[in-house]
Symmetry: D3
Subunit: 253 residues, 6 copies
């Protein structure tokens, strides 16, 4: 099967990190393909950027969905996830969603650790959006600034490991999510230095996408996740417009 890593950020070095971690997690029969947003910001880290990035991810998926079996939204907060789940036939899995749901099978409460200073409040909104706040032990972020996005995981490795340990001991997290696309792959490397399981969101998302594809769920034809009826559009990207106006071919699932 072919899984699309849909990076809604414009930074291709982050896409590279994601692809490497995705390939390491994927089954031998899974092909990983990726897209980097052509529009938007280098790295989504605010509500506004997520609003824009989610809409851009929809454009990208409209261009690519016919060629893949599933897509992974590869930014924290799962921008555009529910929108794409509704609009397309293929399964779409969010990196944050996959990390949290996977964590639920490894303990009662998960902690979230990230490098982005002072985003705790928005992260909590994201957990609540998925109805999983009751399963969350807490959110901890590095407060210090860092150099480049793609190097943050090595630059801050010590501090992130310490934060994960704090999440396990003080917050009593049974499992810790290392959140944020630039941390892709870190969980494997520091696995032995934290006394509870670590979850790498991109790895979890790939396994969840594989699982969903294998289960062959039908596309709904009723309810709010059915494909919406055709509507005219103005000023959208051609592929996205074609999908919303139903000028494209529906995909058989």
């Amino acid at each position: 099967m072919r899984i699309l890593i849909l990076n809604p950020n414009t930074t291709s070095s982050v896409t590279d990190l994601l692809v490497a971690a995705a390939k390491a997690a994927a089954a031998p029969t899974t092909e990983i393909v990726a897209s980097t947003a052509r529009r938007g910001v280098p790295y989504i880290s605010t509500r506004g950027e997520a609003q824009i990035g989610g809409a851009i991810a929809m454009e990208t998926l409209a261009e690519n969905h016919a060629a893949v079996d599933a897509a992974v939204v590869a930014a924290f907060g799962d921008p555009g996830l529910f929108a794409m789940r509704e609009l397309f036939e293929i399964p779409v899995v969010g990196m944050s969603e996959a990390a949290m749901l996977t964590s639920c099978m490894l303990g009662q409460r998960f902690g979230i650790v990230t490098f982005a200073a002072a985003l705790g409040s928005w992260y909590r909104d994201c957990v609540e959006m998925h109805g999983l706040w009751g399963r969350c032990a807490g959110i901890r972020s590095l407060e210090e600034s860092f150099g480049t996005l793609s190097a943050v995981q090595s630059e801050k490795e010590e501090a992130l490991v310490e934060l994960a340990n704090t999440s396990a001991t003080i917050d009593q997290a049974d499992v810790v999510i290392l959140a944020g696309a630039p941390l892709a792959g870190l969980a494997t490397r520091v696995r032995e230095r934290v006394p509870v399981p670590l979850v790498d969101p991109i790895a979890a998302a790939v396994k969840q996408a594989e699982a969903i594809v294998a289960l062959k769920p039908r596309k709904p034809t009723a309810g709010t996740f059915r494909r919406p009826v055709a509507k005219p559009t103005i000023g959208l990207s051609e592929a996205l417009a074609a999908r919303i106006e139903m000028r494209d071919e529906p995909k058989m699932i």
Copy 2:
């Protein structure tokens, strides 16, 4: 003061309805101005359309915010609301948010009545996004189809009044919200035919925007609603890019 009614739909007849209801509710000293989305769909009624519409509303507000004192997001589900609250200095109020918060002062639990068939599940997501599900008595929608958007409130007046009565008696709603931009103004007209208060979201939003402007809250300089630091962008509308890149003038509040 000047309040911008930000219609993220492309249908100008709906904007007209909204403006009429907004003017009827506004204080004599309030000037109502409005924008209709230049891009997007005629009427947002799915998660995907809200994702896109919210991003388009950001573009529109980036062009207009300097000339107004507050903005009202004028579509159900408040597309882009939190994004705009974060990115701009002026107060931004959501029509759904305003309707629900206003309702909280008129009783314990509000019902929501709308004309859009089978959107109940998504509407519930919207209520939960605001943390107000515990104050919601239930959501009821017309199941029948209708003619044009701008005439739906007169075409379906009888059925909508009946639904509001059901919300009050069966669901025990203490107050009923008539939701959806095309119903703007209906609440006033049928006020005497439902035994509990009716809330018109656009009217509520105008009054709430007036209230917030009058209270002169400062723009946060800390936390997740401060204006984000400048970031490079690619391919965004000029005004939105200027704002995110901080090439524009910050607005003094």
Copy 3:
């Protein structure tokens, strides 16, 4: 319009503070009138005092409601609020309720800061009574004693500002409520010294009362907020008895 500031405390200097802050917030066309409780305690700060104070507020409102367009319950915890909302035709708004609902439009989570030592637990009950605990970032109170009620806001200004800063940074409150009638007016004065918006409950309540009056909601004739049917009473104040026994004139709304 005429709004009654209903102080359920017996301290007229607190009423004066409230009236000053109310007038500063009111629209030019709004007339602020006030009442100080003739019975009760100087300052409600316990559950028992709120039980009594709420009943006394009902007596006062029974005497005055016919002459005003709305009433504001001007003590933390909104004593008697739901009772008066049910018994009278005019809108009744609680100071705490108004502060919290207004805050919801300024961020995701509000903090509450107050001067009254060790009331946190009861304050939490009040937030939960309104179903808004999920929107609350935390409650912080001064632990030190103070001189007079009416001077507490100047005497403790430094400490209160510091507490509000802690609420914003440590609790990640997006907006901070300065709670308690004796703090009326403080938010405006220290606005620039806290990096997130401050909400003054009496100012918020006046704006919300103005908004509700302008929206002209009907008095329910069904549900639990309709005016109750006439009942005999024994030993109540004359005006309150007349209202409950329906010997008075119903007010047209």
Copy 4:
């Protein structure tokens, strides 16, 4: 031990019903004494009446607490319960509270059945006040009118039994509370006609009051349930004023 049944209603025939059911439930060593409110309304069934009735119950308890070991607030909604728990040294138990907590030991979810038409919404507020909505299977009320309060339980016996059966089968209540002081004693009489346990609030409250007294909990000297510090009062009943002003003797517990 001596337990005071504190009827905040002015109807002595309801007190008689309560006392009979209380005596039937009490241990041989328990003496049941009762008071009927001298002020107020015949039967509390609205928020406003509960606000007033709770304050009146405080007056009555201030006169009687020294002579008893515990008090039971004998009206649905537990008017004044938390206020009295705070102000007095003796344990105070609410009839609704006791019914719900007792029910929690007889199954996962309790239903509430009552005779009072259309009070469901207020009843839900009461369950939520105790944080027990998650344990509640639903609330059902008779819609028909009835003759006298003291005879309602025999007049409507058939309908109430049917409602209790509906609560068990449709709402899947594991246990059903027959709520409202005028139903005191009914649960015992119809025990065999409903397939799940029935709880009589006054009986539950007497047993809970006996249990609490036997456990000899200390009166808090810290936190929000300690006895408040002395405050001046104006215009309150002599006994209540003496308690709040601390002119009376503290009771040793």
Copy 5:
């Protein structure tokens, strides 16, 4: 009446502690009998031990239920409680459940203090199982190791009192539960050294069992707490098999 203290642990010295505290709390007419698990572990302190211990408690109760009027499950976390409530006619009360529900009548929020290091997370699961997390102020455990189970309460008395004080002051607990069978009796001894009421779970459970027996609730014949229909079994203890296969006598309640 006769109440069975069902210790699902194999340590008879803990049973002795429990019996002593139970007798001190019981009414003169209550006979306390006890059983110590013949199989299992010395002291249940993990999820796995609770799973096994609950099943063993069922075996023990199958042997003894006919001779008693009620049973108390005497280990934290109430292992097997709902299973036994369903399978047997007599009331079965959990020690943790009883402690929490009793605490609800002594304040708004209870704290839990225990001697077992690092079990906070599992304790929280137990509180949530009863739907009472909203009434819980927090859980605090000693972190240090201790000597023998039966002597832990004297060895760690100082530290436990300090922890209870912290629960009252920092966590704002209105009442504190001293949790864990080995602490039976401690609450009485240190009553004056903590400023809020202390609840001893075994004492609370005995009083609650007495209350339930006195109320004579019927055994459900519908719903999920009715006695299940007969089923064949393989390899269970003789008494438990007889009960599940309905080869024993049903008990009249």
Copy 6:
């Protein structure tokens, strides 16, 4: 990899159904092995049977865990799941848990449909145990009796399909879980007759077990899911005793 289907029921024909559905879902490189409980009841359908069945599942897993890479608890309600997750090094996944978490990636709210009459209340407890009640649209069960367990899915196919349709249309479930081991395989067969995705719990559990094994989470060495310290035991099965007493070899993960 090798996954153990741990059937805590004694009915081998149900194990056969489960194995067939598990093999159909498994990856080519996954070997499915199974165990049928040697002790217990034919089919767990009550809280008591789940308590016993969970303890028996622990015995079986103690005998088999060394030879497999993961285990699936194959009965509704996940009996013994958390206990085994704690006690063993290999991943243990519950069939209900896996079905619910997988469903979360296919829509906002899942419905549960089952054949077992009148178990709704207990099913709700199971959903709440996983903290997912907010994601559940409702639970619906057949009310009619049926012939044999292993044939129930063909005998009741029509009725179950109708119930799934009701869940989608009336309850607005975005996805429907066909719950209960005897329905294994049904979802695939009736896939086209319900307009929303159907989830087969055993298939979901196999995919989730494969995903977790592939992610190689470490066994915690801290927190409440670490392997408990050695404890003496009495009267447990040899393999389970050896594990709890730590006389067996720890498994390297």
